[in-house]
Symmetry: C2
Subunit: 656 residues, 2 copies
């Protein structure tokens, strides 16, 4: 059975998109758009439903463009320095007669009969007369009606997004209201027996309806109006009624989820009943079970239930339809070329979308894949870019060039990539860094200490947190850095001495006293991944204690962070795990100290980089030290001290 | 007296911006930002006020990741094809005991005591027992609590703009509400005796308050909340009260205008009274009289009154402060390099900002300056980009490279530049074009027919509308095109025969019968600019009639479009002007026919270009023809016919 059998009957993504778009076009979905009339000042960001023409001219009267006197140009002809002309000055109430003049300020109405302004600087006023020494050209220094906008002229064409300056132009052209396209209404129907609407209803076995809110927000970002519907149970009749009712009040219906082929998945049959299912299943990962249908001439889409799948399919199949319905241009995707830091495998026949962190390391753009589970909401929130592995490919090698579509307003040049050992203080460093260097953000990928050293070697990260114990010397970090980074630029900076130990359930029900107890048959353990400093510490201490891995139940179960260890213990999925005290405290676990270890940062910046300086300054700051030490198990008294710098091997600033 | 004396005492733009920003920083304006708590689903687009940590783990229970049976892994050890293990199947109600198993669906809670799932495909169910043929590893096919998010982990750092996926992450992490920065409130105070709030109050000498609405919309786009205040008369005490009251309810106050040094300009003295005026006058054009002040630790800014000045100074001095107050990144300006099509002069010592149209013509980006009057709202609405002429420069030569900052979401590659003779039908062509080719827009610069021919020659435009009468032959256009465009690619396409004539006031009060009457001493005329086809037609007919220009009062008054001619006559600023019948009809003027003339389009596209094809198809369409002919004075019976194509001079498809 081929690995990708599930995708054999599926359309490719582009085919599905074209079929869907064409069917909607044919059914007139993008024509005859309903409009509504709004007051001009309220229409910001809306789309004009038709071309708008000026109702009045701007300026709407002939006005003086300078402070001075308004004259009839003919009366000034012949005026020269040697033969000035004198004109009788009329007071504001008096009407103008040929041969006289009137004082005017900028913006004043030109008195009837006048057709030019002489600037006040060029006039000598004396005894009710104005003396001028140069002829005025007709209409000089006069703003004529319609100089800016002429009544009946086009002000804003149809299907334009209204901007602040268009609001000004519309108002100046005498328009008080404007016809704009109605926002398309998108009904969102959550379905599933396990879905609950509020946190209060959440019990084991139920899932909070997170997707509806995420999709509603996305619809709103795409210019639509989301109509969130009540949760529908796994019941074909109930779903049919909900979709039917939604069709009458909306321009698009989204059913989430029930789109697979399971016994409780009714979406496809309901949509087939109410209209035509164009596509059920697309050769994409995640998001395969998407359903594209047209009912009553309106798009109806079934999205898969996992959040990452739901968001991806919404981006692929809802966004463009919604924008086209509003005649809005699709925002141009920003694509950067980057080097992939980690190999990704992907089945043939499927287009796989993978979320990544992106940053510029030593002048080279790099992309680090995030966790790929369809259920990992955290990967959605952390991602800065998306890469796709085409259906013809089995995957992408580490180091290969990839095109990364940036998500939202991500700016890779502001992102610092921390790829190494996980530490809670590293996240805090990111927060402090952002306060010092505006808009800088830290993206942490937890690949363990050795992974961090390798990432620095390959210029794939700015920062690696490491705690690598040299079994020969019992010393930390420097030996590894010197061995693996002989020729590259780096700086090794001390961050913390931290307490590692065993996390156990509160009250320590299994009476675990230390590492030796892990060999007890009634104890299950959760391990850290190979290459992590914590794993190396464990293995070093097990050797010292003469315990073999095969004696420990759960030794083979690996997770990637201290918090994941703590969560596994808290979930009673293991009796003990090795990690930092802060993680135990965070989840209310008991903690049995095992060792104090040295956690350092390997920094990889060009010389004199502001970001490196900021990191060191933060590590040295009392504010940062106090906050980290308050968590328990941390000693930051030497934080920020440079241990060694690349190339200075002769005079290494080794720690005493 | 140097031309730019007015700017001698002014700060340069950057100095002013830095001074302003520094003073606000020193006064703590960008720290201690007030926050408010919102329901997570409502917080889209808002900025987190602090780092948000998970309140609960996701998943929040250990769940089956596959359909199958839940087992205790230890009970399966030793199972093989040859020696299967049989486990007693418990029904859902019964609790698990070692040695038995339970059926589970994906997402189900793992029964207490179980720690692995065997996929249903790998199980043989028979007589209340499940037979398995391979050992299960502990925790296989189980999603463990916290696999996605661990309680107490960082979910969203401080000062992040909340996106749809962050909403999902926050909800999944057990957060129902989130602290976000309050939107900064910006009080906008319109001032001036001449300003009125509604169109109903508008009489000659008054100006509609357009700026407040434009500025309020801009504030809203920049994430703030605009508080529009009542109009304040030119009265220092009233203005003082208004600013003082606004300071108590807002985070920033904008006074518009009264910022010059005139007798009725109170803004500077009022702000000096209430706080400190840091800057009064910046060496920019337009926008010089801007006032930057700090009162009660809050920014207070006086903007000049002309709309273009007000908008530019808002962009330069309000936007970044408002974004910084919200910890939002400044949107990255998109800058394109372009070739300037027309020389611009600019005084030394002043940084001048000029709005431009931008398009890509035959692979080269070109920028065409728009009208530069500070009062030209139309130039604001039409502009796609902004260029600046530095203070050390006297201007920029035609053809020089300029850096154009694109405004809003402008996409130069979608813009067609029409640079030539003005015709109302050209605007309509733009509207029709946008319907055929989504998001394409037409930008018209009216530089006259000869200007259009030259623009095509220099590859500065895609389209030139021309009506050039050859005085020798009495024929239109082709001779000029052949003469001036010997070697370039172009296509000459017929658009319309149109009626030119004299526009006069309704009822023709001066009894004007034809061009000969223009020589009458009681008649004033408004002319079109040199190089325009209409001007050439006039001059040709005047020569025929034996009338010299000096005999015509107003011959020297030039305007740029048919509509401007009509507006000048309608404003009684001239008794007559030459132009197309449609313009006269639009403004309700009488029309005395003078000549029928041939108006053609000179197209400049690469071979087989879709846009060229679309233009010709539109010209040939009954829909377009009917609409234009309905205006009166147009005959489109030959519209769309190719008259000649460059390089085919031997077999020119000349009109019969």
């Amino acid at each position: 059975m081929p690995r990708n059998k599930a995708y054999l009957d599926c359309l490719q993504r582009q085919q599905a998109q074209e079929l869907w778009r064409q069917k909607l076009t044919d059914s007139g979905y993008f024509d005859h758009l309903p409009d509504e009339t709004m007051a001009v000042p309220d229409a910001l960001g809306r789309v004009t439903a038709c071309s708008v023409y000026a109702r009045q001219s701007a300026p709407h009267y002939n006005s003086a463009a300078m402070d001075g006197i308004a004259v009839r140009a003919q009366d000034t002809y012949g005026a020269q320095e040697t033969t000035p002309k004198r004109l009788t000055l009329r007071s504001p109430g008096q009407s103008f007669t040929p041969g006289c003049c009137c004082m005017v300020d900028t913006g004043d109405v030109m008195p009837a009969g006048t057709n030019a302004v002489v600037m006040i600087e060029d006039v000598h006023i004396d005894a009710g007369e104005a003396e001028i020494v140069a002829a005025a050209a007709p209409w000089q220094h006069v703003r004529i009606i319609g100089e800016d906008i002429v009544a009946s002229e086009l002000v804003v064409p149809e299907y334009q997004v209204i901007t602040p300056v268009m609001i000004a132009a519309l108002l100046a052209a005498g328009l008080e209201s404007v016809a704009v396209l109605k926002k398309p209404r998108v009904a969102i129907i959550p379905t599933g027996d396990e879905i609950v609407a509020t946190k209060d209803e959440l019990i084991p076995g139920t899932i909070l309806d997170v997707n509806s809110h995420m999709l509603a927000a996305a619809v709103s970002e795409w210019g639509g109006e989301a109509l969130k519907q009540s949760i529908v149970k796994d019941d074909g009749q109930a779903l049919r009624r909900a979709v039917f009712a939604s069709l009458t009040v909306s321009d698009m219906v989204v059913v989430n989820a029930g789109t697979s082929a399971g016994s409780e998945d009714f979406t496809a049959s309901v949509l087939g009943d109410l209209g035509e299912v164009l596509v059920h299943g697309v050769a994409i990962k995640p998001g395969k079970p998407v359903i594209l249908a047209v009912c009553q001439g309106k798009p109806v889409i079934g999205l898969p239930g996992y959040p990452v799948s739901a968001m991806l399919t919404a981006e692929l199949f809802i966004r463009d339809v919604l924008l086209a319905r509003q005649k809005r241009p699709c925002p141009e995707a920003t694509i950067v070329e980057a080097s992939l830091v980690k190999q990704v495998a992907s089945p043939v026949g499927v287009e796989e979308f993978i979320r990544v962190s992106v940053g510029n390391v030593q002048g080279r753009m790099v992309a680090a894949p995030l966790g790929r589970g369809a259920g990992l909401i955290s990967s959605l929130a952390k991602a800065q870019g998306l890469i796709s592995v085409g259906p013809a490919s089995q995957g992408i090698q580490a180091g290969a060039a990839v095109s990364v579509t940036l998500l939202g307003k991500s700016r890779p040049e502001n992102t610092l990539l921390a790829v190494g050992s996980h530490d809670l203080a590293l996240e805090l460093l990111g927060i402090f860094l952002r306060r010092r260097l505006e808009h800088t953000s830290l993206s942490c990928a937890n690949v363990g200490s050795m992974g961090g050293v390798m990432a620095i070697r390959n210029n794939e990260a700015h920062i690696a947190g490491i705690h690598l114990l040299d079994e020969q010397t019992g010393c930390y970090n420097l030996a590894f850095v010197k061995k693996y980074l002989p020729n590259t630029g780096w700086r090794l900076v001390h961050m913390a001495m931290r307490q590692q130990g065993l996390m156990v359930m509160p009250g320590n029900p299994k009476k675990i006293a230390g590492l030796a107890d892990l060999a007890r048959p009634d104890i299950t353990f959760v391990n850290r991944q190979r290459g992590s400093g914590t794993r190396m510490l464990l293995d070093y201490d097990l050797v010292k204690a003469g315990i073999g891995p095969e004696q420990i139940a759960g030794y083979e179960k690996e997770v990637g962070t201290h918090m994941a260890v703590a969560a596994t213990v808290a979930a009673e999925a293991a009796d003990a795990g090795l990690g930092v005290q802060a993680a135990a405290l965070a989840l209310g676990l008991d903690f049995i100290p095992v060792a104090s270890e040295q956690y350092d940062l390997l920094l990889n910046f060009p010389p004199d980089d502001d970001r490196e300086k900021a990191i060191i300054a933060i590590l040295e700051s009392a504010e940062f030290r106090n906050e980290v030490e308050s968590w328990g198990g941390y000693d930051l008294s030497g934080a920020g001290r440079t241990i060694a710098v690349a190339g200075e091997t002769g005079k290494n600033l080794e720690m005493e």
